[in-house]
Amino acid sequence: MSRVLIRGGRVIDPATGHDADDCDVLVVDGRIDAVGRGLDAGDADPVDAGGLIVAPGFVDPHAHLCEPGWEHRETIRTGALAAAAGGYTAVCAMPDTDPVVDDPASVGFIVAEGRRARGARVYPTAALSAGCRGERLTEFGEIVDAGAVAVCDAGKAVGSSSLMRLALQYARSFGVPVLSQGEDRELARNGVMHEGVISTRLGLRGKPAVAEEIGVARDLALARATGGRLHLQRVSTGAAAELIRAAKAAGVQVTAEATPHHLLLSHNLLAGYGTEYKVDPPLRTARDVELLGAALADGTIDCIATDHAPRHYDEKEQAFDDAPHGVVGLETAFAVLHTRLVRGSLLPLQDLLHRMSTGPARALGLPGGSLEPGQPADIVLIDAEMAWTVAAGDFVSKGRSTPFEGACMEGRVVRTLVGGTTAWSLGRATRAPGPGGPVET
């Protein structure tokens, strides 16, 4: 029987609202056993959490780990370790690999590689349509049996409303959510940044905000009509957030995510054609940033997604039109949001922790996101006072393109435990064997 006692931290469990200083967490056999003051350590391995925040490990509903097919960008192993380095104990891998994850064998490969990586747990999502081509449904039953936790055509909105309706209906039999990038693809076609005064100044083709509004409105209408479980990915506009707020009030089964970059950065940053700001959907206006922040605060946006999308440096070192969109986010997400939103008094710490753990775990129906007894001991230790500077060269991820390079941070993840085992700790690359894979039930 393995026992670990995390001693003397400020233990915050956003799932229950628990928030207590000088508190202990006892882990037995990889699961939370007890939370409280002065717990009996017995023969447990002690972990000193004095001066640190102890919270449920973060859960990322949206990461691109690029394997198979794009191993020069990232592998499941480097991605899972980068996730652990950012305080994540679980990541959902998007299926837009090469080949696409659209059958049980591919799903099994992701699960197996994730287990071998021994970083954050890796949960595969599988393609909604074969090859993400948007033509016909994949075998939801088979891929869910193989371990897929959701279906989606990663990064590509499902163009056909009838296919999207079928997906929402069919997914109901398997208890998985349908993830969707709400976007009218035809309207967004060719756009490389937000359509507005900056795209006009720069002479770049714009993606209008209304393309997202239309896509989100359609998906919400289909979710309402089918009773299916919809999770909207990478919400970037205030208008879309408002639609989601109204749909939730009307009882539609919908959850939504937003990324740190959409929550903090606006299209003004593109004025120098920096490809580290080229993301999809594009960075929007300062007003959208403000409205998205409000939607995160009031729970309209349930969770933070990194949309971690590593690119090889050569790919980003091109003219703006030619460079692919995508930035890395796993290792900076908590720190940038803590620095700008929590320290900026825009969001309470408890709420940020909720949107990074409890929120996404519930949205995707995953274990974790809570410190209640019986939950997997997926735990993050945070030094909220630690000052540091983002330096992409130090990332565990193979990806180096970040819009936060050189930014001064307040607060840092110092240790990540997956199933009670330290998967990562600051200052030493721990390679202790941990469970790595999905929580066994």
Binding site: V197, T200, R201, G203, L204, Y273, Q318, F320, D321
Partner: protein, 323 residues
């Protein structure tokens, strides 16, 4: 040629980053160079020993030739690289092209590229002076400068002058350079065209938007008529060229209704009978060919200034080989 008191800095990427004074310096420096063009021996030694690469990723006739004349008249050694048949068409990336140029110690690069931002991308990566000869729909600064020089020749001052840009502003780098430059020099700028071809939030660049050409014609002192690419019709931005000509084309009937005579400019190449009728293009108020002449002078001025030439010495340079 003296020192590095560069009036423009290292590169000319666009008119947006320039100050009004910097734009005036280029225009003033172009004046003495105009006359060279009319001489029997059209050559000055001011760029002797300098190597210039004209790197054209997009086909171009008049801009490339205009640059080449400007370079040769200043005695530079020039090499032309076109997209077809070069390493560019073999998949070489812009950054590798840049590194190769750097390794050959080129003094200046004139670049035309289909991607907005390509010129500044290159400029940030090589020590050579970079001149943007058009990057996507972003800027075409030497065209903007020659248009402004032509307006100044005709009207004397740009302060309060009303210039309307007519046509496909959405895809036009010429329009953007004109807007930035003219607004900085105190002109009033209008744009007019089908709403499908006017970019989002264009008013925020300090221009007035006209929905009807007749209103624009009534308001303006000069019209800069943009080329309508045939592809725009294929892409569905306008339903037909015939209708475009009828609704937005600059015709003599339309100009006759104007309260005053308008100066007519066009960056070329023209689609006669589409955005502009022949009798207007060839008419007495058209300065389209003067624009071409001014193009060489402006480019000579830009090359001279980027090479470190002092603005006040341009006159002396002209006289240096006086016949």
């Amino acid at each position: 040629m003296t020192g590095s008191t560069a009036a423009l800095g290292k590169d000319l990427i666009g008119l947006e980053p320039l100050s009004p004074d910097q734009i005036r310096i280029v225009l003033d420096t172009a004046e003495p160079f105009k006359e060279i063009t009319e001489r029997r021996i059209k050559k000055l030694p001011v760029l002797r020993g300098k190597t210039i690469v004209n790197l054209f990723f997009e086909p171009s006739t008049r801009t490339r030739i205009s640059f080449e004349f400007a370079e040769k008249r200043l005695s530079a050694d020039t090499v032309n690289i076109g997209a077809a048949g070069s390493s560019v068409s073999k998949g070489e990336t812009l950054v590798d092209t840049a590194r190769n140029l750097e390794a050959m110690s080129i003094d200046m690069v004139v670049i035309r590229h289909w991607s907005a931002g390509a010129a500044s991308f290159l400029a940030a990566r090589i020590p050579s002076n970079v001149i943007n000869a058009g990057d996507g729909a972003h800027e075409h600064p030497t065209q903007g400068l020659l248009d402004i020089l032509t307006l100044r020749d005709h009207f004397g001052s740009l302060e309060g002058l009303r210039v309307c840009i007519v046509g496909d502003v959405l895809h036009s780098r010429v329009a953007r350079s004109n807007i930035y430059g003219l607004v900085k020099l105190g002109a009033k700028v209008g744009v007019c065209g089908p709403r499908t071809l006017l970019p989002a939030s264009i008013e925020q660049l300090g221009v007035r938007v006209f929905a009807q050409v007749d209103d624009a014609v009534r308001w303006a002192d000069a019209l800069n008529v943009l080329r309508l690419q045939l592809e725009r019709m294929e892409d569905g931005f306008v339903p037909s060229l015939r209708e475009y000509n009828r609704v937005f084309g600059i015709t003599s009937q339309r100009l006759e209704r104007a309260p005053k005579e308008l100066l007519i400019m066009h960056p070329g190449p023209m689609n006669r009978g589409v955005e502009i009728d022949s009798d207007v293009a060839d008419g007495p108020h058209s300065v389209i060919l003067q624009q071409v002449t001014n193009g060489v002078a402006v480019r000579m001025a830009v090359l001279y200034l980027l090479a470190g030439g002092a603005p006040h010495l341009a006159e002396a340079a002209r006289d240096w080989t006086g016949t």
